[in-house]
């Protein structure tokens, strides 16, 4: 691997232009009316910003969209046939979009690392996720700011996951530092950007987001067990919950999904894999029309159980990356950190 380089701040536009020439799409944080959001870069550099704390959408959606068409199929006229048919008319295409996720924060990169383990690392591989993931270049921008909702330092997700990211960036007074972490990253720096970067031999600055809220280590150990969450009462936290499902829809690691079949024409259907929210009633319904997570409190605790105890046992890492979207963008500002810190007891 080559060492660290500096991209001069006024050359950033060139970097984006060259990346968009090389790749099908480049996803960059851009200013919108509602806040900073990850959007495809179309050459309007004035909207691009690297100065953000949290985006209103999560960049993981570009790898694992909320809705994926698994396959389409046609059924023969009338589904009753005298002769058995040999094959379904199933048609599928696995999307392969070569893309760059530019300047995502380490927390979101950790979310991608989590999904890599969950969807491709254990047993069956999800071909739709893998195809998108293999064609995605991840460029992480380390973050030195936080607001009252970030809690990445407690989970160790403020540092770049070096096995997931291709290039890491850090903003300094001299310019933007860039360090390749994979072969793809090295190729981009060497071939694409060679004339707009200069070598840098200083130390890599440690990211210091300076979180205002924290989950103590011993609380995390309790969360891993699962039982303390079951025992705790969340009644007063979920009182204000309106079941809008924002928390699960914006969470970069939520991957629960549903497969539904939607008509798209006469005798033609598509099977769609859609994000499913544990906050909905349908999520935990079983055949006798019994809803297992009947109350808001159970659904709230289920989410926390899935993020901590379940993910740690199943995949060895936490499913929560401390990005704070579920609290910051919640209409009722229900805070899981507050719940954990006040209610979870050993």
């Amino acid at each position: 691997m080559t060492g660290t380089h500096i991209i001069l701040e006024d050359k950033l536009e060139h970097v984006l232009a060259r990346l968009s020439r090389e790749y099908d799409r480049v996803i960059v944080p851009q200013k919108t009316r509602n806040g900073v959001a990850f959007k495809e870069y179309h050459g309007d550099y004035s909207k691009v910003t690297l100065d953000y704390i949290r985006t209103i959408n999560n960049p993981v959606l570009y790898i694992k969209p909320a809705e994926i068409t698994l396959y389409t199929y046609t059924i023969p006229e009338g589904i009753m046939l005298k002769e058995p048919i040999k094959a379904f008319n199933i048609d599928y295409e696995i999307p392969r979009i070569r893309q760059v996720l530019f300047a995502i924060h380490p927390c979101d990169a950790h979310a991608i690392r989590y999904l890599d383990i969950a969807l491709t690392g254990k047993g069956v591989v999800d071909p739709y996720y893998k195809a998108m993931r293999d064609n995605t270049v991840i460029i992480v921008l380390e973050c030195n700011k936080s607001d009252e909702y970030c809690f990445c330092e407690s989970l160790g997700t403020h540092e770049t996951p070096e096995d997931t990211a291709d290039i890491k960036l850090a903003k300094t007074e001299k310019g933007i530092l860039a360090k390749p972490l994979s072969d793809t990253g090295e190729r981009i720096i060497k071939e694409l950007l060679s004339d707009i970067i200069v070598e840098y031999d200083g130390e890599w600055p440690k990211p210091k987001p300076g979180n205002k809220i924290k989950i103590p280590e011993w609380k995390l150990k309790l969360l891993e067990k699962g039982e303390p969450v079951d025992k705790a009462s969340a009644e007063k936290y979920v009182e204000k919950c309106v079941l809008c499902e924002t928390c699960t829809n914006l969470c970069p690691t939520c991957f629960c999904s549903d497969i539904v079949h939607v008509p798209i024409g006469i005798n033609k259907f598509k099977a769609v894999k859609r994000k499913a929210s544990c906050q909905s009633r349908y999520y935990s319904m079983i055949a006798v029309e019994k809803v297992l997570l009947e109350r808001k409190e159970l659904r709230f605790k289920w989410r926390i159980l899935h993020k901590y105890a379940f993910s740690k046992r199943m995949y060895g890492i936490y499913g929560c990356v401390g990005c704070g979207r579920c609290t910051a963008l919640c209409p009722s500002k229900i805070s899981i950190v507050e719940f954990i810190n006040k209610e979870i007891e050993g």
């Binding site: 698994l70 396959y71 058995p84 591989v125 999800d126 629960c256 079949h261 259907f269 006798v288």
Partner: protein, 272 residues
Amino acid sequence: MQTVRNPYIPKPAHIESIRYETIDIRTYTLHLSEPIEFTPGQFVEVLVPGLGEIPISIASSPLVRNRIEITVQRRGMVTTGIFNMGVGGILGIRGPYGKGVPLKEIKDKNIVIIATGIGIAAWRSLILYILERRNEFKDVTVIYGTRYPEDLIYRYEYDYWSSKINLIVTLSRPPETWKGYKGRVTKYIDKVKIDEETLFFVCGSPVVMASVAKELISRGVKPDKILVSLERHMKCGMGLCARCMIKPGYFVCRDGPVFTLSQVKEEILGEL
């Protein structure tokens, strides 16, 4: 082009015959386009074209590979879709999925199967396997209960079953003309000789499973000798959709649907 195996794609299967078990339960024999290998307790995802997929236990013998039987109760949209199909109708099959009964480990043991209602469908595959390999097992007892006689399924097979194994069919609300056993399934647990190596297979509604498990534990049966078959709304069957998580670390589709009671004790007994 399609070189990577796509686990989401179902294989066609056509309905070869239909048996009417009760007013809302039918057993379908499906002729598969590709033979599958499975063990009792595993399930398949059945696609009804245009309506969707549901997980259903395989109810036929694991020794037959190109035909499977599924027993379906009409409940929602997809099961109604299956009911609307006749012989020759086309379904899609994905699977088998889940962990079934470890057939090698249950050899030379006493087996007790306790089920109610359509729950017997989850263990019919095991029963048929035992009937075909009867000499590999010691005492085998099936305790099966429903409310009314018209709710009993697989009635046409009881003579065959009871010729080789001990079968107790009991009704909790029997009509006056009923001459067989009466009462709930838990009443007949005492009829079975319980030793340390006896394995119990339980399936039924959550409340039934809880009360059976409680009765067995009170008789000194160890929780890891009790196997239960759980039901959740499994969407993908492969552990990729995370819908069927029952507690930290367990997916019903990948780690079940057959669990030992020691694995899911709180989930089962919590129903009482």
